[in-house]
């Protein structure tokens, strides 16, 4: 690998960090304008003026906003996300399990969805404009167009209630045997797969079709290669950059956008954790989760960028 690549990569990472800082400011500002304040949310109906004042003092809510921001940022950089206001638990510790669960679900959904989408995309290109292509596109688009809660409930109805093959609630816990855990996440993973499938499949199809018009593909066909070999050897490698991009976008969605699926299947992941704490105005947790989501999103995009550069000779060797 040559140094221009290293330089590009370093540039991207530096940009990412800068972006993350900007996001942290936004998150902090956003949580400041939520209605109500933490002290009130913690005490709830039982708040009296004295107890409110005491609690505000104790939580340091009386300091100006920028001081609180830097105090918080300092903690985050040193790995200390603070303690949850509502339960007094260490955020980093209680979030670890949740994050792991979310990643676990996202990983298995991706393991199914990404190859499936790409293969379906390739098949659609091979039989383009025929009934196979139309069937694949139609089904994939339909599954994406349905809202995810609808897909979730349909899956629950058939597989959990009617035929009772998989559990309808996906509660997982530490020390759960791997087999049981896989069985528990089967339905949410299927729902997520159906939701992200079409986007990746359509993008694969479009990107490859674009390349299929090039002269060298025609040459390959004239050489007598089979249709699949042309796609696999000549078209696909040159269409990989946009595909990686869309794959990464969908991976990010699998991690940060699964709140609804988590609620339907009662899956103890990050989304549910975030929602619980938003309703309690637990600002430190909301900030921490927001920041982690932003970091995941930004880093997956950096990976996509870098992969696209590495895959593209023109970007790898700029003039």
């Amino acid at each position: 690998m040559s140094s221009p690549i290293m330089k590009l990569v370093a540039q991207r990472i530096a940009l990412g960090i800068l972006l993350l800082l900007a996001v942290s400011v936004l998150i902090f500002a956003g949580t400041q304008i939520l209605p109500g304040d933490v002290a009130q949310a913690i005490l709830g109906q039982s708040a009296t003026p004295e107890s409110l004042a005491n609690l505000r003092e104790q939580l340091g809510l009386n300091d100006p906003a920028f001081i609180r921001y830097f105090r918080w940022l300092g903690g985050v950089v040193t790995g200390d996300l603070g303690t949850a206001m509502s339960s007094g638990q260490d955020i980093a510790a209680s979030m670890k399990g949740r994050l792991w669960n979310t990643l676990f679900l996202a990983f298995w959904a991706a393991v199914v969805a990404v190859p499936l989408a790409i293969v379906l995309g390739l098949i659609a290109v091979r039989y383009r404009n025929g009934w196979v292509d139309k069937l694949i596109s139609g089904l994939a688009l339909a599954s994406t167009s349905f809202p995810e809660f609808f897909i979730g409930y349909v899956l629950v109805y058939f597989f959990a209630v009617k035929y009772q093959i998989f559990p309808g609630i996906s509660t997982v816990y530490d020390g759960m045997p791997f087999g049981e855990r896989m069985q528990a996440i089967m339905l949410p993973a299927a729902a997520l797969t159906l939701v992200v499938l079409a986007h990746m499949m359509r993008m694969t199809r479009a990107a490859i079709l674009n390349v299929m018009q090039s002269a060298y593909v025609e040459t390959a066909e004239l050489k007598g290669l089979s249709a699949f070999a042309v796609i696999r050897r000549h078209a696909f490698p040159n269409a990989i950059a946009p595909i990686i991009n869309v794959v990464m976008l969908n991976l990010a969605y699998l991690i940060v956008g699964v709140v609804v699926v988590e609620v339907i299947f009662v899956y103890p992941g990050m989304g549910q954790y975030l929602v619980d704490h938003v309703t309690k105005r637990d600002v430190p947790v909301v900030q921490a989760v927001g920041l982690i989501f932003a970091a995941v999103y930004i880093s997956l995009n950096i990976i996509a960028d870098i992969a696209a550069i590495v895959a593209n000779p023109r970007l790898r060797h700029p003039k």
Binding site: P35, Q45, S87, Y157, G168, I169, Y273, D276
Partner: protein
């Protein structure tokens, strides 16, 4: 015919006949499914509990922010789990009387100011220590301390001194209170070693189950505590588990799919559908909870009793009960007490009367619309109920303007702040508690701003009265005062609607809270 049925039901209870066969034969004998089911459950009770197995409940009302510190319990899951691992000083029986738990005997001085709790011998904590009078006293002390932020603080503040001596705890009250034992049945007052002063969220008490799993917002579980002091009455299943399922549809499908044995909060609008599912039994019963529209008696235009009366007469309670609760409730009568309270007296039912409402509205001299704030979170169906109210009032010539408020912040910004809004109350265990919490002039939660020195005096007098007949008469007078002059519009009392799956036996309706006052997992068992 009934002999045959009884015989068959005993066979089911002893495991010789399947439930489905029984229902089939019962139907052949021309008996309705409801009756056959109730026959079955009484036979199962008679046959006695079956030990063993795992009972699971899927419940709404748990968050990842929940703590095991009983002082901080607020929602349904910590409440129900607390009843599994915790033991109280005294509890309310399903019939409404007092059931002594850690206190073996509760006695008072003649003026109801000094109370003595005699502590039961041989009750053991999960950590092997014996429950002492000191532990009980320390528990009460901790909940009386502002710093504990205890949900029971409101009543505990009325205790002046707590002393443990030998096997007794002596409580001296600031003011006489004949209801003290009822107050001590509050679900927050779980007795902990040294009152939980060392570690409030250690999760150790003397209840029927020891905590084995505690993942807030996800699941909680326990295994039977071998040395539970009344193991014959509670703790039939070997293990119990509570899975937090906040989504109503997921809860139903978990019950249907057999992943849980019972669920809470079935929505009234789907009860009729769930009833038809095989094996599922709906457990609905009246409680003290109620849905309300509250007016501030000290804010214009609601400071005029004619206007308040006009609005009370302009609401069609029957229609609301029918359409919002689908009949799963009972009519309200503008005072917060119903038959689930001890010492309740019936008062003539207020009816929808547009003509009278019109008369009072005119007399009030108010002109123009009245602004009612409502929200989805005020109570399930609150927005629909408000619209029904708007329509029935329009027929009486009263214009109600609706403002739909966001659910976020409703309890901070609207309830107890704005002069007219929709809300709900979960109810309390005694009339005194209910009136002291929300109708005393000095109460923080006096959400109708009902400030009447004469009423306050009645509350205090009734509290100190030990003669039940006199007390009952006093509560009747208080109810009439609130009903006719207060700011409360109470269209309906809601019911607790739980559901159990196949093979769950031992269910006894309890009017105090959902899920048999939280004890369903400990008191029910799985039929063989």
């Amino acid at each position: 015919m009934s002999n045959e049925l009884e015989f068959l039901s005993r066979r089911v209870a002893s495991g010789k006949l399947s439930r489905r066969d029984f229902l089939g034969r019962a139907a052949a004998l021309g008996v309705t499914a409801t009756f056959a089911n109730s026959l079955l459950s009484s036979a199962a009770r008679a046959a006695g509990p079956v030990k063993g197995g795992t009972l699971k409940a899927g419940l709404v009302g748990g968050e990842s922010t929940n703590s095991l510190d009983p002082a901080l319990f607020m929602t349904q899951v910590p409440f129900a789990f607390g009843k599994m691992w915790g033991e109280l000083i005294v509890e309310l029986s399903p019939e409404g009387s007092l059931e002594n738990r850690i206190a073996e005997e509760i006695g008072s001085s003649d003026d109801a100011k000094v109370w003595t709790l005699k502590i039961r011998d041989g009750v053991e904590f999960h950590n092997g220590k014996t429950v002492t009078a000191e532990d009980v006293a320390a528990t009460l002390e901790r909940h009386s301390d502002e710093k504990s932020k205890s949900g029971a603080l409101g009543y505990m503040k009325g205790i002046e001194s707590i002393k443990a001596s030998g096997k007794e705890v002596v409580l001296t009250l600031k003011e006489a209170n004949a209801d003290l034992p009822y107050l001590l049945s509050d679900y927050h007052l779980i007795v902990q070693p040294n009152g939980g002063k060392d570690k409030a969220d250690a999760g150790i008490s003397a209840g029927p189950y020891k905590i084995t799993i505690n993942e807030p917002g996800v699941r909680h579980g326990g295994e039977r505590f071998a040395n539970y002091w009344q193991g014959d009455k509670m703790g039939h299943a070997d293990q119990i588990e509570i899975i937090v399922i906040n989504d109503a549809t997921a809860r139903t499908s978990a019950l249907q799919g057999g992943q849980v044995n019972m669920i809470n909060r079935v929505e009234p609008k789907i009860v009729d559908l769930i009833k038809r599912l095989p094996g599922v039994t709906i457990r609905n019963h009246a409680g003290p909870g109620h849905y309300v529209f509250i007016m501030h008696c000290d804010t214009a235009p609601f400071d005029n009793n004619d206007l308040r009366m006009a609005l009370k007469l302009a609401i069609d309670r029957e229609e609301m009960l029918d359409k919002v609760l689908r009949g799963y409730g009972s009519l309200g009568n503008d005072f917060p007490i119903n038959a689930s309270y001890p010492l309740f007296t019936e008062i003539e039912q207020r009816k929808y009367d547009p003509d009278k409402a019109k008369f009072h509205f005119k007399k009030s001299g108010h002109d123009g619309a009245v602004l009612l704030r409502t929200s989805d979170v005020a109570f399930p169906g609150a927005v629909d109920a408000s619209q029904l109210f708007q329509q029935s009032a329009a027929k009486a010539g009263i214009q109600i303007e609706l403002k739909r408020e966001p659910g976020d912040g409703y309890w901070n910004e609207v309830w107890n702040k704005q002069p007219f809004c929709a809300s709900y109350w979960g109810g309390r265990s005694t009339q005194d508690q209910m009136y002291s919490t929300a109708y005393l002039s000095t109460a923080d939660w006096n959400d109708t701003r009902f400030k009447r020195p004469d009423f306050d005096k009645m509350v205090l007098a009734a509290r100190a009265e030990l003669d039940e007949t006199k007390r009952k008469a006093m509560y009747h007078d208080m109810a009439v005062l609130v009903r006719d002059e207060g700011g409360l519009i109470l269209p309906m009392f809601n019911q607790f609607i739980d559901a159990t799956g196949a093979k769950v036996a031992g269910w006894v309706d309890d009017p105090h809270q959902e899920l048999m006052n939280g004890y369903a997992l400990a008191k029910c068992w799985l039929e063989a």
